[in-house]
Symmetry: C2
Subunit: 251 residues, 2 copies
């Protein structure tokens, strides 16, 4: 049973026809996979999507990535590229560096690169550990993981901590945006896509208290209205409807 | 009270005189700081070392790195560079890329870069989480953290898990080295320095069961005999002597 139908939507197949050399092993709710999907779309790259449920520890998948985590990007003639940060570096070096400077998700300037990487890691590592990782594990993955392997009902204490932590992250996003056009500087970068990807997974579940920070909310509305976001907003999980604001661009 | 005297050793001051533009905020037992110290030395860069005890959450340090973690590299005219992976990328772009290909810690070829980054992350993230992070927290940091903040005696359950996990990592290192000269390919890279840095922190405490994998042991002996390793091997923690094999190149 496919949990999501994103891998087989006709629009995905149409895109796939353009760039059939890229395959992304992902999970629709994995925040790091969402980050890579946004990045690929911003770079006008359309991968074939393969849904991977990492808790099944599929042998063929472990051969691609011994760490057993999503996402993994496959490009013909290259070893598998595992993990959000490594895929971001790879995509910038092989595709992004051919774009005009303002369109690059990783700027060319050394000091700007430090800030983009710092914030990519802030969201992909720190926000994930404190917020989006626990929320997605407790509210989504545990529905599919057998109880013998730790699945089952959400741990309310873990969710309470994540829902408290998210407020500090929204405040930090608001603080950054009050001093800059985008999170890492004057143009959209991987930093914005990472933050938005992790928040989008929590937002689907209604776990982002947008009223906490108006500046963070308007920044997210800007990222969410980009064409790259459409593919994420169309994903729905059977049995778990998205929050009222999830796909609403004027939330 | 300085826990270590490495920041003020005469040899460190002599090196500092050569490259006074670099300052590294580190802790002598932080495995990621050790990785960066090895990398800097391999690149013939000698930073001024400043010992940071992150559990004190010093305001001035949090301004440099809001995440509050070591290491942080400061280079004149640049924003602070936080974290092992980001520092590695920065050093390669600003210094390593000027070296002959065989001396670079990050190769130029795309597919080789994927493998170096994959293994850097394997050791800096996965081995850290499963092995060196818990060992250093329980056996070193908890001596200095006030009991009100979680310091005190080591948690034996946590140590038991870390000491079990390390066997799988040694086996993986052995498996890689049976197919290659160095962990990520034909020459020494960041992957070797990351693995060796994390193992060196555990080795100081006698927590590396070298008899588990002879190939891993001989690989570590090779890395340990490099001049870059000397600065680490000379660090000692008052009240906690290093294991018998720690500074022995023929262990």
């Amino acid at each position: 049973m496919a949990v999501f139908d994103s891998a087989t939507r006709p629009t995905e197949f149409a895109k796939h026809a353009r760039d059939s050399m890229l395959t992304l092993f992902h999970h629709p709710f994995c925040p790091h996979s969402r980050f890579v999907r946004l990045s690929l779309d911003e770079l006008s790259l359309a991968p074939r999507l393969v849904e991977e449920r990492i808790w099944e520890r599929r042998t063929e998948f472990l051969k691609l990535n011994p760490a057993g985590t999503t996402p993994v990007l496959l490009e013909e003639g290259m070893p598998p590229v595992p993990g959000a940060a490594i895929i971001a570096e790879y995509l910038d070096e092989t595709h992004g560096s051919k774009l005009p400077p303002r369109q690059r998700l990783m700027p060319a300037d050394s000091s700007a690169r430090i800030e983009v990487r710092r914030l990519m890691s802030w969201f992909n590592d720190k926000l994930y550990e404190e917020v989006s990782g626990p929320i997605v594990m407790e509210r989504v993955y545990k529905r599919f993981i057998p109880t013998s392997q730790g699945g089952g009902s959400p741990d309310t204490e873990v969710l309470r901590a994540a829902r408290s932590n998210i407020k500090y992250h929204l405040a930090y996003i608001g603080w950054l945006i009050r001093g800059r056009d985008w999170l890492a500087g004057p143009s959209l970068t991987y930093a914005d896509l990472a933050a938005a990807a992790h928040l989008s997974a929590a937002d689907y579940l209604g776990d982002v208290p947008w009223s906490e920070d108006e500046t963070a909310r308007t920044w997210y509305a800007r990222v969410k209205s980009r064409p790259a976001f459409r593919t994420l907003l169309n994903d729905t999980l059977p049995g778990l409807a998205p929050s009222a604001s999830y796909a609403n661009l004027d939330f």
